[in-house]
């Protein structure tokens, strides 16, 4: 599947978009929402996150209003990410140059993201929030559109698959980084139901672009959060609902 001639400058530029989310010291999404509810967090050099919160002496029975709002914002933003991913896979129907063996996965994964966006929207409502409908504009504009344009210009199936891997890694990391913001076990469980799937998707695509490299395609033992969206990707820059 991998094109041995993938090292031309144009393609390299697409591949270099990986990790772009943390370029320039972008603040991770979880950091903003935590800050919004009186917490803070930092992404250390390895991408792990240390966040801080006012310590409970016992598990709280009622979460602070701000924390609840921040949690809803995580759910809404994750809904938007899943919606963008679903739309991305739908758009691949027009990519006639995409390798044939990728097509079944495109169909299946698109359906997964559609279902998961719906599940997260439902979860938002159950959490007392307003479900978000629509894609994540930041993700669409900053990564998907330019990378897709470059891939189309070169008719590069490998670049499309690389993009899919990056998007899935972003979904997994963005949801995972939000876990500590969510206050209710049910909400955490709803998000990890999605992030685990995104992680499986990401692995599959990485395996496709590095055929046979079953070890190299693995994520870290503790999923790295380097790929998480920055705070400005939140659909609620200042969570209030």
């Amino acid at each position: 599947m991998t094109n041995p001639a993938t090292s031309n400058p144009a393609e390299t530029s697409i591949l270099s978009r990986r990790r772009f989310f943390i370029a320039g010291g972008a603040t991770a999404l979880g950091a903003a929402t935590l800050a919004a509810c009186g917490r803070s967090s930092v992404v250390n050099s390895s991408g792990s996150v240390a966040s801080t919160s006012v310590p409970p002496t016992a598990p709280p029975t009622t979460a602070p209003k701000e924390a609840v709002a921040a949690g809803r914002s995580i759910l809404r933003t994750m809904t938007s990410v899943e919606t963008s991913l679903a739309a991305f896979y739908t758009s691949l129907a027009a990519a006639t140059y995409l390798a044939a063996d990728a097509q079944p996965w495109v169909t299946a994964f698109g359906a997964h993201h559609t279902a998961n966006a719906s599940a997260l929207a439902d979860l938002t409502v159950r959490a007392g929030g307003k479900a978000f409908a629509g894609p994540n504009k930041y993700l669409d504009q900053q990564l998907i559109a330019p990378a897709r344009k470059a891939a189309d210009a070169q008719s590069s199936s490998d670049n499309l698959i690389e993009l899919a891997a990056q998007l899935e890694a972003t979904g997994a990391a963005t949801g995972t980084i939000g876990i500590s913001t969510l206050t209710e076990p049910e909400l955490r469980q709803g998000v990890t139901a999605v992030t685990a799937t995104d992680s499986r998707h990401a692995y599959l695509w990485r395996l496709m672009v590095t055929p046979g490299k079953v070890v190299d395609a693995l994520p870290d033992a503790l999923l790295s959060l380097r790929d998480a969206l920055p705070a400005k990707a939140s659909v609620d820059p200042a969570p209030t609902n």
């Binding site: 792990s48 997964h112 685990a196 692995y203 033992a221």
Partner: protein, 238 residues
């Protein structure tokens, strides 16, 4: 593939709160990898920071659950120690087994740090029920593909177990580490599904049904069934 431990302990202590912040500004270290390890080094005095104590001062159910999860990680690591030497496996499968074993060791270490921070004692014995069940299945699997299928089941079972654990975990730091582990184990399950789906030796891919629409708890290892024969505990397990 090991938990990051580059966050200096001094940073942890500072983040927990120094005299300049005062007790009301004391903060908990939360989340992920190296921070967990660093917090573990800080040990018992900070147990309350991760919700490790009940209002009565007893060890919380979260810590008890984390201890059990550590025992599962130790069991997984032991299964992989055998798998990495299996004659039926080629070098690629052996390498994958070695990596997965190391990853489970790292995951156990991260959780163990939480246990230590919560005032518990980190288990040193693998969960004997899980280890025996999967070691036996692995030994009796007739082919490399079948053995890979056993390891796929192991990873899916662990991912489902962590997913189920999130239903009861109250501690945000422990839940955050669990979330990172779920995503990692889910990917490892796909890796074994690819190996199991040979014989495309040069570029194996899994069967489509190896990737479900969402993570469920269906394959979880039930705590009442997978009770370790020996687990070191301290304090009450209310």
């Amino acid at each position: 593939m090991t938990p990051d431990s580059r966050l200096p302990e001094s940073d942890v202590a500072a983040d927990i709160g120094g005299p300049d912040r005062g007790p009301t500004r004391r903060r908990a270290i939360v989340l992920a990898g190296g921070t967990a390890a660093a917090l573990g080094a800080a040990a018992g005095p900070f147990a309350h920071l991760i919700g490790a104590e009940t209002a009565q001062g007893n060890q919380s159910p979260d810590i008890t659950l984390a201890m059990w999860l550590v025992s599962l990680e130790l069991a997984a690591r032991s299964v992989y120690a055998t798998a990495a030497k299996a004659d039926a496996f080629d070098d690629r499968a052996k390498s994958l087994a070695t990596t997965c074993g190391a990853n489970h060791g790292a995951q156990g270490t991260a959780l163990g740090a939480m246990v230590t921070a919560g005032g518990g004692t980190v288990p040193t014995d693998a969960n004997s029920v899980l280890a025996m069940q999967f070691s036996n299945r692995f030994a009796t699997a007739a082919t490399a593909a079948a053995k890979a299928g056993v390891l796929e089941d192991l990873e899916n079972g662990l991912a489902a177990t962590y997913q189920a654990s999130l239903a009861t975990l109250r501690s945000a730091p422990i839940a955050a580490v669990a979330a990172q582990i779920i995503a990692s184990d889910a990917a490892q399950a796909v890796a074994w599904a690819a190996i199991a789906n040979g014989p495309t030796a040069d570029a194996p891919l899994p069967k489509p049904d190896a990737i479900p629409a969402s993570q469920t708890t269906d394959a979880q290892f039930d705590r009442t069934e997978f009770t370790p024969a020996t687990t070191t505990t301290t304090g009450s397990t209310s």
